[in-house]
Symmetry: C2
Subunit: 225 residues, 2 copies
């Protein structure tokens, strides 16, 4: 995967915010790997700005947990310990369970229909084994679930946790048969939510994420230190 070295100008809107998004995206999508250095001058040249906004962007990314910073040392793409990674996956399960429970209680009719529709549409992707497309669907499915909980702060927490886990979860759908299993698990969640069975939805969501975690940790274990 070759990186684009050409100067990348992003002078629209607030410069720092754009840089935060751009760098976060590179980390989350795996263009940059955990442990990789983010030196200020290179980034400044690359985005065609001075070091000042770069530093502010790095500080914000640090606060988000996407990069690690130490005094007088370059920022590096966050390289979490295996223990912390495990705690994030567990937290993800708990948060997802909460969202599913609240969603079962609070989703509007329209939201329920939209969730079901999104889910049903993905069956086609499973049969085609379209891993990339299914991953996109998966993101949308879970986002709908988080939104459905109707709690902005929980949405913020779960979204942030998800972003931090993304680098360690990329390959999950490459496991043979994982797509079909994921679909089945989603099915239980959707069915429970449609019935308004919050306990079942919560339980199903917890297990679903726990399974994804196990699958992901296999791939992540060679990256963490």
């Amino acid at each position: 995967m070759k990186q684009i070295r050409r100067r990348q100008v992003i002078r629209t809107g607030t410069t720092v915010e754009q840089m935060v998004r751009a760098i976060a995206d590179m980390i989350v999508t795996g263009v940059m790997h955990p442990g990789e250095r983010l030196d200020e001058l290179s980034l400044a040249v690359r985005f065609d700005v001075s070091r000042t906004p770069v530093r502010e962007a790095l500080r914000e990314l640090g606060a988000m947990g996407l990069v690690d910073r130490e005094p007088n040392r370059s920022a590096v793409v966050a390289n979490v310990t295996e223990a912390y990674l495990h705690s994030m996956f567990e937290a993800m399960s708990e948060l997802e369970a909460i969202c599913a429970r609240l969603a079962a209680e609070r989703m509007t009719i329209d939201e329920r229909h939209a969730l079901e529709l999104e889910h049903r549409a993905s069956a086609r992707l499973v049969h085609a084994n379209a891993q990339e497309d299914y991953a996109a669907h998966n993101t949308e499915f879970h986002t709908k679930l988080y939104r459905g909980a109707h709690n902005d702060h929980i949405y913020e927490m779960v979204t942030q946790t998800r972003a931090r886990l993304a680098p360690f979860r990329r390959a999950q759908f490459r496991l043979p048969g994982r797509l079909a299993k994921s679909y089945d698990e989603h099915d239980v969640i959707v069915t429970s939510i449609m019935r308004g069975d919050s306990a079942a939805a919560s339980q199903a969501a917890y297990s679903h994420v726990a399974i994804v975690s196990d699958a992901s940790i296999v791939f992540a274990s060679d990256k963490v230190g």
Copy 2:
């Protein structure tokens, strides 16, 4: 509560980190009120540094959710909407319930003893109606609970949420009889945890925080917009 106008020099360790802590402290302890402006130059003069580290500190505080920032506008102490405040209190109940459940399952013998000890020691404060001291005990009690869950990421989330709620929760122990009720609620949590009854601990913790939320929202409702 008069503010100290004298220059405040904090040249120990990493400057920006110190400033973040100092400003966060002023917000959390109520020295600065929601909506209050944080202009860069004043802060720079006050801490005897240039605007550059001030800006970085403000950006970090923004990422933490303690201050709101908009382009070309001063940072202001975060002034959340009533709806968002409610979502944070609800999230706090959920997180606390998780911590209590996990703590009931995972706390070591020593941690259980320490929690019980902290709790028992506070009985004296209730009888003396020592609100300030009880508030300190309360913080320590809940911190022990969060630690007891043995999950670093959840600890981070609950701590951050707690910090953001702090400005809106200051007066909770001024309600008549609240100290005694708080003690009783803690008692149920402690007893459940000592028994290893995770369901009861979780339930008790959820209710406890929900009650605190209701008490706090009364006081907060005249501050939010």
